[in-house]
Amino acid sequence: MMFWVLQSLNGISYGMLLFLLASGLSLIYGLMKILNLTHGSFYLLGGYVGLAVLHLTKSFILAVLLGSLAIALLGVVMERFLLRRLHLQEMPQTLLTFGLLFIFSDLAMLIWGGNPQTVPKPELFRHSLDIGGMVYPSYRLFIIGFGLFVAAVLWWVQEGTRIGAMVRAGVDNEEIARALGINVSLLFTLVFAFGAFLAALGGVMGGPIVGVYPGADFEVLLLGFVVVIIGGLGSLRGALVGGLIVGLLDNFGKVLFPEFALFTIFAPMALILAVRPTGLFGKE
């Protein structure tokens, strides 16, 4: 029994990291119709930059903030100077983000080397908690709470604020939103930067659990896609539910059937796609 509880918590906490990644992926696709493959890089670079800040300042909070902000800035530059030139050209845009994924991967290798790096946990969450007689790391519980907190904030921004309504207007009908005076180009930049911020957040916060290592960019990108495919592209709820599903599948797959770990993710995905081609919460 305890095995299931603890492994579920592991899966859920990893699912929250995937949610951070997938929510941005989904948001960007919803508004800009870009499948941003560079999202994996945002995650990995966020981890590396956060780690560098941590070494310099010894502050986990600063590492999280500066790491994520740096990548958000990278997102701004990428959107303004590269993606914008290819507005509404899906294939070229996707290829561009694909190319950048490789470039950033090599750059990271060049700067930070090929060895996996471990990120120390923040002081506050170094201890373990006693759950029904079993010890469990408090940091993972913190990640779960933090993920839910981010989900709540995203929900509120999307449904309860003027800028959230503007983004939804842009998603529904970009042209008409522009023609009614909404600065959709600015929204593109903001949303892309915000998505990059969330991915980097996942990279830094996930550091103490999964580490930061070459190849993590491709790995999380693949899982992030499974999340949005299962949850439905463009849906925040889908990113959360999909993240949890994939987190759990991934974890139990690795623990119970290590030799079939990928199968335990892709078989359910194929099943869901067969029943609901747009994912659990996708539109149309």
Binding site: A165, A169, D172, A179, L180, G181
Partner: protein, 229 residues
């Protein structure tokens, strides 16, 4: 206030607007008539910067908006009511008025809702769930709440029940009384002529006729030739 000077507009290789000129003075209601497919919507889109003209000039006041971006044109004061309403289906009525509210003119969201009481009673409804008539009111409301100097309406009566058309007519009449400037694109001849000061008729990408409503009513040839009535 709006001066369209010999504009030419393409969709890719299709040559749609083949030299259109049109003037609208402040406080005027100008009707633009013409059969389906003659380029009326394309003209609206060229004005709004959605399909910019590749030759010619469009002045709004003293600003050249020919190649300005759509959101700038809207902010300069043109309120667009697109053909087919095109409301944001995942936004409710209140949110529609929120995202397009601008300027400190007479139209606050509250005043708008006085003008369209139907909308007030369904303020929390998603636009996608409204009836066609309600969606049309909403499309007009969200344009007005930006306090535009010029209202650009593209076939607002299309697909509406007669009662809703009367309702819409009342709104246009009261706007006209308030001194609004409106470019009204229509296929419903009688509806347009009731409110227009001047009529332009379009055919195959060109303006082919310009007259007053009274002149048009007395001219069965032109009506038959270009409007099929």
């Amino acid at each position: 206030m709006l001066s369209i000077q010999d504009i030419h507009t393409y969709y890719g290789d299709s040559y749609i607007l083949q030299g259109v000129s049109l003037e609208l003075q402040p406080g005027q209601v100008v009707a633009l008539l013409g059969r389906n497919g003659v380029g009326k919507t394309t003209l609206a889109r060229s004005i709004m910067g959605l399909t910019p003209a590749s030759r010619g000039r469009i002045l709004f006041g003293d600003q050249d908006i020919t190649r300005a971006s759509a959101h700038r044109i809207a902010r300069l004061g043109i309120g667009y009511v697109p053909q087919g309403r095109q409301v944001f289906r995942s936004l409710n009525i209140r949110e529609h008025l929120q995202v397009t509210a601008r300027g400190n003119g007479q139209w606050t969201p509250d005043k708008i809702l006085d003008l369209f009481p139907n909308l007030r009673s369904r303020i929390k409804s998603l636009a996608g769930k409204l009836s066609g008539g309600e969606q049309q009111m909403l499309a007009a409301a969200r344009a007005l709440v930006g306090n535009p100097a010029l209202l650009l309406m593209d076939e607002p009566t299309e697909g509406l029940a007669p009662m809703m058309i009367r309702e819409l007519g009342k709104t246009i009449a009261s706007l006209k009384e308030g001194g609004a400037s409106i470019l009204l694109i229509e296929q419903q001849l009688n509806f347009a002529l009731r409110y227009a000061d001047i009529v332009f008729i379009m055919n195959k990408g060109r303006i082919v006729h310009r007259c007053t409503p009274a002149e048009l009513l007395a001219d069965p040839d032109t009506k038959a030739r270009y409007l099929g009535v």
